[in-house]
């Protein structure tokens, strides 16, 4: 798994050392404690006879029950239902009201004169979504890998205020997609900051989000901006786990900094790089919210990706084609499955490395 290959859990302790973070909890404590205590005692009374009857080990079933219930109802059941939806038509939500049409939805999706030109397809938006997604994924993932690697290398050097700079690059990761999109929508608008800067340097102001090619560029740029800090952090952890003796050895061998990078850093960082690559791929394929708020998929359908097609077809169009939406989401699901399997294989390799 990708997580086991990363780092040992070296959790900082909430209790030891600086306890200021807990101050709010301490204030709330007298209020919440009696209520909690009552609840806990009630559960205990309820459980004690059960435990006496079933024994200690079977209590595991009780502890896992709430989670399993929610998981079953909201994840497992829907996964199975999704297959059924994909094979039914009509606009009704309840499965009993929906006519079974077999592979009809898939036939609709794949009804194309020429698979390379979306215009020849019955569901041209689906194919446009796929092509846009492929384009987006290629540029976004390479952007993320390139810039997070550069940033991690820079942050790993002996610099002043490393903590500050690390925070600077990481901060946008925490912002909500809606907020990120609005920040950039404001910068990119016609009378916005970017055009003002461009004009200072003698350029011409542009309607960035209304020009088809620029719109795609900015959609990619903004998502790299928002996400690269996350991958930088993972790569930084990878860099810091490279044993320093290796650099000492290579410097005894007379290696320069480029050779250090080429023959020590890069090979040892490769497993982490693969993790980053696949995680970024998985995220990029699912991209929706940021773009939805930034361009709404426009201009035209230039930045409409696959997930937006799933959302509009099933939920925001006047006619809600749940079957088609479910069928399209299965295409997404299969892509994710392939990527996850790829990640598992690479993850296993990297934990051997």
């Amino acid at each position: 798994m990708q997580f086991t290959s990363l780092q040992n859990p070296g959790f900082p302790s909430l209790l030891a050392g600086k306890g200021e973070n807990l101050r709010l909890l301490t204030i709330l404590d007298p209020l919440t404690r009696p209520i909690l205590l009552m609840l806990v005692t009630a559960v205990d009374r309820l459980l004690t006879p059960i435990q006496r009857r079933v024994g200690i080990d079977k209590m595991g079933y009780f502890f896992i029950l709430p989670n399993l219930l929610i998981f079953g109802i909201f994840v497992l059941l829907p996964m199975l239902l999704n297959f059924y939806y994909a094979m039914t038509g009509g606009t009704k939500l309840f499965p009993a009201d929906r006519p079974f049409i077999g592979l009809g939805n898939f036939e609709t999706l794949f009804d194309c004169g020429d698979f390379l030109s979306p215009n020849s397809c019955q569901e041209d938006l689906f194919w446009r979504g796929i092509f846009n997604t492929i384009q987006f994924v290629i540029f976004q993932v390479s952007g993320i890998v390139l810039f997070s690697l550069m940033t991690a290398l820079v942050l790993n050097r002996k610099i002043v205020a490393r903590g500050f700079f690390r925070s600077v690059f990481f901060y946008p990761v925490l912002l909500s997609p809606v907020v990120v999109a609005l920040i950039w929508k404001w910068v990119l608008q016609h009378e916005g900051l970017l055009n003002a800067i461009v004009e200072i340097f003698g350029g011409e102001s542009t309607r960035w989000l209304l020009d088809p090619n620029w719109a795609m560029f900015w959609v990619v740029f903004v998502s790299v901006w928002a996400l690269m800090g996350f991958y930088t952090l993972i790569l930084l952890a990878g860099l810091q786990s490279i044993p320093p003796e290796l650099y000492e050895a290579s410097s005894i061998d007379g290696a320069g900094s480029w050779q250090d990078f080429r023959f020590v850093t890069l090979p040892l960082l490769m497993p982490t790089m693969f993790v980053v690559l696949v995680l970024a791929l998985i995220r990029a394929v699912q991209m929706f919210d940021q773009i939805y708020v930034l361009t709404g998929g426009g201009p035209g359908t230039r930045t409409q990706l696959l997930v937006q097609y799933i959302y509009t077809t099933g939920f925001s169009n006047q006619i809600q084609l749940f079957g088609l939406s479910a069928a399209a989401s299965m295409a997404l699901g299969i892509t994710l499955l392939v990527l996850t399997l790829l990640q598992l294989r690479l993850g296993n390799q990297s934990s051997l490395a």
Partner: protein, 358 residues
């Protein structure tokens, strides 16, 4: 730690014992400077812009700071008058307040000497006098009088969703992790594999059927419909289970000998010991829930139930975007996360380095 960093960072730099800045150091700081401007600049620009008035926002090229025209009280007038710098016929300039503008002529008065009477000035001969002033009304108006943006309701919904969902997530996932790490029962490993294998199945893939389940339960336009589906998170189980595995079984046995029930052990022994991992999951959960967008967008279609993210999106999507309010409310929306980040950064970075998840 510092020593280790030094040796690692010998890569590319300082490795030959140079003390002064060489070219690679300069490139490093150049990269960091440009990076800082690119990463922080847009956020600062948002904050600065959010304090501009509606009139200030349409100015182009946009000034860096929020300027507003100076208003002066003049004896004999009920309302404050806008102040201008007027170029007189003899070429001198004088600050004067404008009483009224008719066509291309403005009637001005000298605020220092209202007795001198009004003069008429061509509007081309006057420039507004401005000062840096924060337009707090961008923040205050939406709290009271915007009928299409009910800020308090959205905030309340977001707070409820975030806090209730985080509480539930912590309780049920820690219970499950406890079961998976400390008990031997039939099917345990199968259940664990099942959880973990759905780690990469986002709700995006099963939108339609989850929506059906929510509708059947009657949770459409209900905050429970947003809270519950994501509560059983495989990430949380994994994180907590890995941590609980490090808690020695002897502790549990000792408690059992003392007559503690299993529930008592969970509550009194496991939970306190798992606090660091719980803290990481809590922070993650707050981030997930506060920023969540697609699922609330589908479940909540009535204004009264919108969370901040959904409300903000609807508000900015209107035909006439009221940017002065949108910007201010965006700042309010990013504030809690920024505070969490400022105080709990350590936990977030550890959590990510541990799980590889956000």
């Amino acid at each position: 730690m510092a020593a280790e960093r030094m040796t690692v960072s010998q890569f590319l730099s300082n490795r030959r014992g140079h003390r002064r800045l060489d070219i690679s150091d300069m490139l490093t700081y150049l990269y960091l400077t440009i990076g800082t401007i690119l990463m922080f600049g847009p956020v600062l620009w948002l904050v600065a812009s959010s304090f501009k008035t509606q009139a200030g926002l349409v100015k182009y090229p946009p000034p860096l700071l929020p300027y507003q025209q100076v208003q002066v009280e003049v004896a004999g007038f009920d309302e404050a008058l806008p102040l201008f710098e007027v170029t007189m016929e003899d070429g001198s300039t004088q600050e004067m307040a404008q009483i009224r503008r008719v066509g291309i002529e403005a009637r001005m008065i000298d605020p220092a000497d209202p007795e001198a009477g009004e003069i008429k000035v061509n509007i081309r001969q006057r420039e507004p006098v401005e000062e840096v002033k924060l337009a707090w009304e961008n923040y205050l108006d939406p709290l009271i009088e915007l009928d299409n943006f009910d800020f308090f309701t959205y905030l309340k919904n977001s707070v409820i969703v975030t806090s209730v969902a985080t509480a539930i997530t912590l309780v049920i996932n820690s219970m499950a992790a406890f079961a998976l790490s400390k008990y031997r029962f039939k099917g345990r490993d199968a259940i664990f594999v099942l959880f973990i294998s759905t780690l990469m199945i986002p709700i995006t893939v099963i939108l339609v059927p989850v929506f059906l389940v929510i509708t059947s339960i009657g949770w459409k336009n209900n905050l429970w419909g947003v809270i519950i589906p994501g509560a059983a998170t495989p990430t949380g189980i994994f994180l907590l289970r890995q941590y609980m595995l490090t808690i020695p079984d002897e502790l549990l046995d000792a408690a059992r000998i003392d007559g503690a029930s299993e529930w008592h052990i969970y509550w009194r022994v496991i939970l306190p010991l798992a606090r660091p991992a719980l803290a990481v999951l809590a922070i993650f959960s707050v981030m997930w829930r506060w920023n969540d967008f697609l699922w609330p967008l589908i479940v909540l279609s009535q204004n009264d139930y919108f969370t901040l993210q959904v409300g903000l999106n609807a508000f900015q999507g209107e035909l006439q975007i009221q940017w002065h309010y949108v910007l201010a409310m965006t700042v309010v929306t990013l504030l809690p996360i920024t505070l969490v980040f400022a105080f709990l950064q350590r936990f977030i970075t550890t959590g990510i380095a541990t799980t590889g998840m956000k």
